[in-house]
C-alpha cells in the first residue's frame, strides 16, 4: 500500500481481502480486524508535503501501520477511577457497590475502549481501583476472584500490548495480583509495578522480583521520575509507553536514526544543525497531519462516550515522537565506534538525543497536552532488520549489567514517553530474587526511568516489551494462535533467531507495536 501517494488498485485490494478471508492461520477476529485495516488503506493518507510524504514512503519516518485515516487515538488511558465513581450513562451502568460489581463494571468498560488493535492497551491502576471494594473479601476469595478475572482478560483481550499497572502503594490487592499473575503465567495482561523507593517499600519490590523470577513480569517503573513528568497521573501501557492518565496518545510516529545518519554527508555539527532538523520536521509533520485528521475529520473527541463522560479529555492527549536505531546512527557517524562501549559513540548518541529532545520540548503540536509531544525510545517492530530498538545498546554488545545501567541512565530522564532498555539475567537468579530487587533499586538510584528483566528459560519471554509464550509460537506455526501478538512474535523469532540466542539476545528482540 502506498502512503502519501496514489491509492491502491482495486484488484490489489481484492487480492489482499481474499488472502485475509482465506488465510489458514487467522482467527475470526483477526480476519475482521485486517479487513478493516485494508478498507482504511483505500482512503488517501492525510495531506503531507512532498518531503514528508517521501520520508514516510522511504521508511525514514514510520507510523507503525496505524492506518491511513485515523479514527481513534493510538493509545487511550481512561480514568477508570472516575468511571467507577460516577458510573456510565452510555453503558447504562451504575457505580459498583462491591468487588464483583466492580470487576463486571471494568470488564464492560474494557470492551468499549477503542485502540489501534481494537483491544484496550490500558486496564488501569488495578490495585488502587479495586482496593475500595475488598473490605470483607477474604484472602482466599480475593485470590479466586482475581484468578477468574485474569483468565477473563487473557481469553477475551488476546493482545499482549494490553497492560495493567499496580503500585506504588504496597497493599493486599497488589500482592494478590503479583501472585495470581505469576501462577497463571499468561501473556495477557502485561504488568507494570510503579515503585517508589521512599514509600513502596522493599517488601513489594521483593514480591515483584519473585514474580519476575517466575514469569519475567512485572516491568518496574521509577514512580517518582514518572510522576514528576506527569503530575496529574500517568499509566504505563503497551511496550512501556508512559502516557497521561485520562488521556493517552493520538499517535506514535518514529524516526529511523540509522536512515537519518546514512543520508548525511558531512561532519557532526552539520548533521545536528542541518540534516537532523529536517528529518525531525518531517516526523512532526506526519504527527500533526494524523492528529489533525483524527480531531477535525474523524471528530473522535466529539462523538466517543469516553470523552463525553469525562473519562478522557482531548487536552490530556499527547503525541509520541519515537526514535530508534541510536546504536547504528552512532556507529555510522563515528565511522565504526560502538555505542555502549566507546566514548566517542556514546558522546555522539548523547548529542543527537539531546538535540531531538530539545526540538520535542520546544515544538508546539496542536491538540496535545501542553501543546507538546513526548519523546519515546521506540522498541522496534518485527519487520525491523539490522536496526536496534530505541536507544538500546546493540544486541550482543551490552556491557555487564551494572555498567549497562550506567551507560544508558544519563539519557533516561529525556524520554518522558518511555524507554525500554531490557536487562538479561542468568537463570541462576531464580534461586535468589533479592538480586533482581537489588539491581532495580540501584538502577533507579542512578536515574533509570524504568527497568525490565528477561531471564532465560521461561516459556514466557519478552519480545522487547510484550510477552509471548515460546510454546505458542511453535503451535502457531502449525495451527494459528488465539493471541494476535503471537504471529508478530513468531516473525521476530524468525527474523532474529530468538530461539538460538543467549539470554541477552532474547532481551533485544523487536516489537511489532511500540
Amino acid at each position: 500500500m502506498t502512503k502519501g501517494g496514489g491509492l491502491p488498485a482495486i484488484d490489489d485490494v481484492r487480492d489482499s481481502a481474499r488472502r485475509i478471508v482465506t488465510g489458514a492461520s487467522l482467527s475470526y477476529r483477526q480476519r475482521v480486524h485486517q479487513l478493516a485495516l485494508l478498507a482504511e488503506e483505500t482512503l488517501p493518507y492525510p495531506d503531507l508535503s512532498p518531503g514528508a510524504a517521501a520520508a514516510l514512503e522511504s521508511g525514514l519516518v514510520s507510523d507503525l501501520h496505524e492506518g491511513h485515516a485515523p479514527y481513534r487515538p493510538r493509545y487511550i488511558l481512561p480514568d477508570y477511577a472516575k468511571a467507577l465513581a460516577q458510573g456510565s450513562e452510555y453503558l447504562e451502568m451504575s457505580p459498583p457497590t462491591d468487588f464483583d460489581e466492580a470487576i463486571t463494571f471494568l470488564q464492560v468498560l474494557y470492551h468499549n475502549v477503542p485502540s489501534i488493535t481494537t483491544y484496550p492497551v490500558f486496564l488501569g491502576d488495578l490495585d488502587s481501583l479495586l482496593l475500595p471494594y475488598v473490605e470483607g473479601v477474604s484472602d482466599a476469595e480475593l485470590h479466586r476472584k482475581l484468578t477468574n478475572f485474569w483468565r477473563f482478560l487473557d481469553r477475551t483481550i488476546p493482545d499482549a500490548f494490553t497492560h495493567a499497572n499496580i503500585g506504588p502503594s504496597d497493599n493486599r490487592v497488589a500482592r494478590a495480583i503479583l501472585q495470581v499473575d505469576a501462577e497463571l503465567a499468561q501473556v495477557v495482561p502485561n504488568l507494570t509495578l510503579k515503585w517508589d523507593p521512599a514509600t513502596s517499600g522493599e517488601g513489594l519490590l521483593l514480591a515483584a522480583s519473585e514474580s519476575i523470577a517466575a514469569v519475567n513480569k512485572p516491568h518496574i517503573a521509577n514512580h517518582p521520575m514518572m510522576a514528576a513528568d506527569f503530575p496529574s497521573g500517568y499509566g504505563v501501557v503497551s511496550c512501556y509507553n508512559t502516557l497521561p492518565l485520562g488521556g493517552g496518545s493520538h499517535t506514535l510516529v518514529r524516526l529511523n536514526l540509522l536512515e537519518s545518519a546514512r543520508r548525511h554527508d558531512g561532519d557532526l555539527a552539520s548533521y545536528l544543525n542541518d540534516t537532523l532538523p529536517g528529518h525531525i520536521a518531517a516526523t512532526f509533520e506526519v504527527i500533526e497531519a494524523r492528529i489533525d485528521f483524527l480531531v477535525r475529520e474523524a471528530r473522535f473527541f466529539e462523538h466517543n462516550f469516553l470523552a463525553k463522560e469525562g473519562l478522557i479529555s482531548k487536552d490530556r492527549f499527547t503525541a509520541m515522537f519515537g526514535i530508534y536505531g541510536v546504536a547504528e546512527m552512532a556507529e555510522v557517524l563515528t565511522g565504526g565506534s560502538r555505542y555502549g562501549t566507546d566514548n566517542d559513540a556514546n558522546e555522539i548518541a548523547a548529542a543527537v538525543i539531546d538535540t531531538i529532545a530539545r526540538f520535542v520540548e520546544n515544538h508546539p503540536v496542536p491538540h496535545c497536552m501542553g501543546n507538546r509531544a513526548v519523546l519515546h525510545a521506540q522498541s522496534g517492530i518485527s519487520e525491523d532488520i539490522g536496526v536496534t530498538a530505541g536507544a538500546r545498546v546493540k544486541t550482543g554488545e551490552e556491557p555487564e549489567i551494572v555498567d549497562h545501567v550506567l551507560a544508558v541512565s544519563p539519557h533516561h530522564h529525556l524520554f518522558a514517553g518511555g524507554i525500554s532498555d531490557i536487562f538479561a539475567l542468568d537463570p541462576t537468579v531464580r534461586a535468589n530474587p533479592q538480586a533482581i530487587a537489588d539491581v532495580a533499586r540501584g538502577a533507579f538510584e542512578h536515574g533509570l526511568r524504568e527497568i525490565t528483566f528477561n531471564i532465560a528459560g521461561c516459556d514466557l519471554v519478552r519480545v522487547t516489551g510484550y510477552m509471548v509464550r515460546l510454546s505458542d509460537i511453535e503451535k502457531w506455526r502449525k495451527e494459528g494462535s488465539r493471541i494476535n501478538s503471537t504471529a508478530l512474535g513468531a516473525e521476530s523469532v524468525d527474523n532474529w533467531h530468538l530461539l538460538d540466542r543467549t539470554p541477552r539476545v532474547i532481551s533485544h528482540e523487536f516489537s511489532p507495536r511500540s
Binding site: E400, V402, V405, A431, N432, A435, V439, R441, G442
Partner: protein
C-alpha cells in the same frame, strides 16, 4: 583488578550469597579439592605486605562507591580467603565503618579451616559465613579435599553459636557422600548445631576436575532428590537443591 593478593573481582554475582553481590577472589588455598573450580587460585602467594593490603582494599572500595546501590553485599571467596586474615579484617572494617557502605552485608566463602581465634577477629565485621562441609567422615573428607575436617566441624559449631553461619554446602558424590550412613551422621551433626541452617546440595560435575576425579560419576538429579529426602528425614528443615 588483579594482584598477587586479589586474584580477581566480579561486580555482579547472584550465586555467592543473598542478593546481588560484589565478589572478591583471593589467591591461595590450603585445601586441594579434586573438583576445585578455581584451581588457579590454589597456589599460595608470598606473604602479603601492608602495601598489598592497602592497594587491594582501595581498589575494591573505589568500585563499591559506584556499585553499592545495586548490591546486597560483598562476599570474599578464593582460594581460601581466611588465609589473608588481616586483609579480610581490614576490608570488612572499612566497609562497616563507612556510612555510605555499611548497609552492605559482609560474607565469607570459606573451607572452614580457620581456627576460632581467627574467627574471633572477624566476628565484629562479618554478617555471615558460607562453609563447605564436603563430607562428615574424616577419611572421605580427606579423599575429596586432601585435608581432615576437624577444624571445619569446629568452625561450624563456633560460627553457629555466634549467629554467623549462613550456609553449609554438601558436595554430593555418588558412592561417596550420598551413602545413607554418611548422610545420617552428617545430618545429626548439623541438626545438633542448628537443624534450620541452610544446607545447600552441590552436584558433582566433571567440568574442570582433575583426572583422579573422573573416577566418580557426575551426580544425577534423582540422587540429589534422594539425598535431600534423607537429610530432611533426619530432621534438617532447610535443604536447598540446585535449580
Amino acid at each position: 583488578m588483579s594482584s598477587a593478593l586479589v586474584a580477581r573481582t566480579i561486580g555482579t554475582s547472584v550465586v555467592d550469597g543473598p542478593g546481588n553481590r560484589f565478589v572478591v577472589f583471593l589467591q591461595g588455598c590450603n585445601f586441594n579439592c579434586v573438583n576445585c573450580h578455581n584451581p588457579s587460585t590454589i597456589r599460595r602467594m608470598h606473604r602479603s605486605t601492608p602495601e598489598d593490603i592497602e592497594r587491594g582494599i582501595m581498589g575494591i572500595v573505589d568500585q563499591l562507591r559506584t556499585r553499592a546501590p545495586f548490591l546486597s553485599g560483598v562476599t570474599v571467596s578464593g582460594g581460601e580467603p581466611t588465609l589473608h586474615l588481616e586483609f579480610l579484617e581490614t576490608l570488612f572494617e572499612t566497609i562497616k565503618t563507612d556510612p555510605a557502605l555499611n548497609r552492605l552485608s559482609t560474607f565469607v566463602d570459606s573451607n572452614g579451616s580457620l581456627d576460632t581465634a581467627g574467627w574471633m577477629r572477624l566476628i565484629p565485621w562479618i554478617d555471615g559465613v558460607m562453609l563447605d562441609l564436603k563430607a562428615f567422615t574424616p577419611v572421605t573428607h580427606r579423599m575429596i579435599t586432601g585435608q581432615t575436617n576437624a577444624r571445619v566441624l569446629e568452625s561450624i559449631r563456633f560460627l553457629s553459636e555466634r549467629e554467623r553461619l549462613a550456609e553449609i554446602r554438601l558436595l554430593v558424590i555418588e558412592g561417596l557422600t550420598d551413602l545413607d550412613e554418611e548422610l545420617r551422621h552428617y545430618a545429626r551433626f548439623v541438626g545438633r548445631v542448628n537443624p534450620a541452617i541452610r544446607v545447600k546440595l552441590m552436584a558433582y560435575r566433571h567440568h574442570g576436575v582433575r583426572p583422579q576425579g573422573l573416577k566418580w560419576p557426575e551426580t544425577r538429579p534423582e540422587t540429589i532428590s534422594r539425598v535431600a529426602a534423607v537429610l530432611e528425614r533426619e530432621g534438617l528443615t532447610n535443604v536447598a537443591v540446585p535449580i
